[in-house]
Symmetry: C2
Subunit: 394 residues, 2 copies
């Protein structure tokens, strides 16, 4: 049932719901771990009811729960608790994204877990972490994007508030949680000691502030949104062409000179206003007007061909449909198909007949020793694996 | 020299430059690995010359290279190659972000490395990966944000192109690389086998598309930017108040009803246009007008207090200066100080005298068995640790 990978043989008991936690355990499943999703009987993960739906199945739920198993257990029911505790005894990691304290109230706080199951790693992903004055507050992606400063540097200067268009508040926390779990498993393998991993969505936003934090701390100036441009590298922006936009990242003098030449404006590289990166950044608006004057004379495709041939880092702004059709994305197996439940294994995407399957993003961690299957197991129906899981418990 | 952590005793030889690779090895250093940065003699990592600068030191460079060691080696010089190979023999992981093929040309391709140093894990982070038609193209953060679809869903509807205001193209690749390395180290610990980890910035953008991909695949409609709102949860947006904005994430009917009550508009929850999440999403503009009508009568602080007290997930849109002053961010030790080179260890931030130190983001992975020091070692000067590293090689 598990995918081949470096975490083969690792069993993860997964109490997480919706996004940050399930994304963490998806990443671990993609690395070969067996993930057993423990869900509320009759209800299951709330994400099962979040659209869009395809043939009655949530594409949203599928995309972060593919390849996992499901068992429905009521953690307040004595019989189900017994099953849960047998699972804890056989698992390597418990991952949950309850609000801090909820697991303690069920009798499964870290101290208890660690005493009863000394080899069990516990990963807790939450909005604000297990400690601090906000620990009990509710958090959603939008809340941590807003509080963590990311929204303050995203958008147009003077424009309305802009959220990163993907749930980076959740996804970043999922990534850091998965990394913490992998590191904790290595530590346990080498020392025998199991540890608790505490990851907060808000903390992860701070960890991604990158040069915005450095700029404030170095200069005292509070960074604001800059549209598509880089705060300290110029030209590094989206520019208007005759029929759309092109992004150009000409990060140093030589690339800038070449770009100017390709645009038929070689003299710009000799203009004293644009002589160094610092001057170009200071005179960014004037430079942009000059470059767009040239770029506006032809199409995005025309300029991409000419700039690419000259070695200038550039790109079209692709929409999601264009991403799906991108040959590099295909060559890297970054869009995988999901087998239907009960589906017999089929070949690679498109090579065999059958109704179109759901597709989701693949695994960006490519490993020399392991295959990267183009068709993956789907997400489980609620409680789908209960019989098999219970039978293993003896 | 290394921080305490689950990767204690792991040595990482780090050939990476600028951002994606250095961010990966920063994450590994924060987990306890010893990271030896191998830099070009006399020049070093290009990020050393990227501003902003504080007292001649790049705050940008410091923020992703704190806690590492540096040795300058010319990988074309026979004597330096000998030192490098001794280091390879004693290291657990080689991380690099050259363009594919560059390491082969230096004689250190994966096949050679694996044969000569069978316990060495090799992690390659690149713009497009080691394979596929774009493998040799140059990439920068902006290029992969544009190609990968993230820019197409970020920004205002109909507005100009908008980049995520932090280098998520680089940072995401750093996170996936670190996760791949940790998983590979676990695999090696358990099986003795070292593997190669190949992570592409573009692939990582696709892996973060989340519901944008699900929406397109499920509905055939290409997602576009939505400002600050969520595509399928309403209200989940930034709203104007009398003096600014507040974000509100009232993800289900009960929260919505409570929010309406707090705003003095209880009747909205009974309005047939807003009876379900699906209807609220369909009538999002009308609902936003109603909610802003109410919110516009008082300040952001007023509404935050009232909404929070009622348990509604909400937040101000904090700028980076406000993030630095946030009590939760402080309680979680998410802003750490960097000791000056040669600085004697001091206590926690602000508790002792001395000139203000550089500060950077801390480690969001909090682990029960390890301290989370509020003062961390700084980034190394170029070649600062050469003598000590060479002396260890015998």
């Amino acid at each position: 049932m598990s995918l081949p990978g470096p975490l083969a043989g690792v069993t993860i008991l997964d109490l997480t719901r919706v996004l940050a936690g399930p994304y963490a355990t998806l990443l671990l499943a993609d690395l070969g771990a067996r993930v057993i999703k423990v869900e509320r009987p009759g209800v299951g993960d709330d994400a099962r009811r979040i659209g869009p739906f395809v043939a009655g199945r949530s594409a949203y739920f599928e995309s972060v729960n593919r390849g996992k198993q499901s068992i429905a257990l009521d953690l307040r029911d004595p019989g189900d608790r017994e099953v849960f505790e047998k699972l804890l005894a056989r698992s390597d990691v418990l991952v949950e994204n309850f609000r801090p304290g909820a697991l303690e109230r069920l009798g499964y706080g870290w101290d208890t877990l660690h005493e009863r199951f000394p080899r069990l790693v516990h990963a807790a992903t939450s909005g604000f972490g297990q400690t601090g004055p906000y620990a009990q507050r509710p958090a959603y992606d939008l809340v941590v994007q807003a509080l963590g400063g990311l929204m303050s540097v995203t958008g147009q200067p003077g424009g309305p508030p802009t959220r990163v268009g993907t749930s980076i508040g959740d996804l970043a926390a999922g990534l850091f949680t998965a990394l913490g779990v992998a590191a904790a498993l290595l530590h346990r393998e080498r020392t025998g000691e199991a540890i608790q991993v505490d990851v907060a969505m808000l903390d992860c936003q701070v960890a991604l502030l990158e040069n915005a934090l450095a700029r404030l701390l170095a200069t005292g100036e509070t960074p604001g949104p800059l549209g598509a441009r880089h705060p300290s590298i110029t030209p590094f922006d989206a520019f208007r062409t005759a029929d759309g936009h092109v992004v150009i990242a000409a990060g140093h003098d030589a690339l800038f000179a070449t770009a100017c030449e390709v645009l038929g404006r070689a003299e710009l590289a000799r203009d004293p206003r644009f002589a160094t990166n610092e001057l170009r950044t200071r005179n960014e608006a004037a430079l942009k007007a000059e470059l767009e004057g040239a770029l506006g004379r032809d199409s995005t495709q025309h300029w991409l061909a000419k700039l690419s041939a000259a070695g200038i880092p550039c790109a079209p702004i692709q929409n999601v449909a264009q991403v799906l059709a991108d040959p590099q994305v295909a060559a890297r197996n970054m869009i995988v198909e999901l087998a239907e439940p009960g589906d017999a294994p089929r070949g690679a995407a498109g090579t065999e007949a059958g109704p179109p399957r759901l597709r989701t993003a693949g695994n960006p961690i490519k490993l020399s020793a392991f295959p990267d299957p183009p068709v993956r197991p789907p997400a489980p129906d609620l409680d789908a694996d209960a019989k098999r899981i219970r039978s293993e418990l003896g």
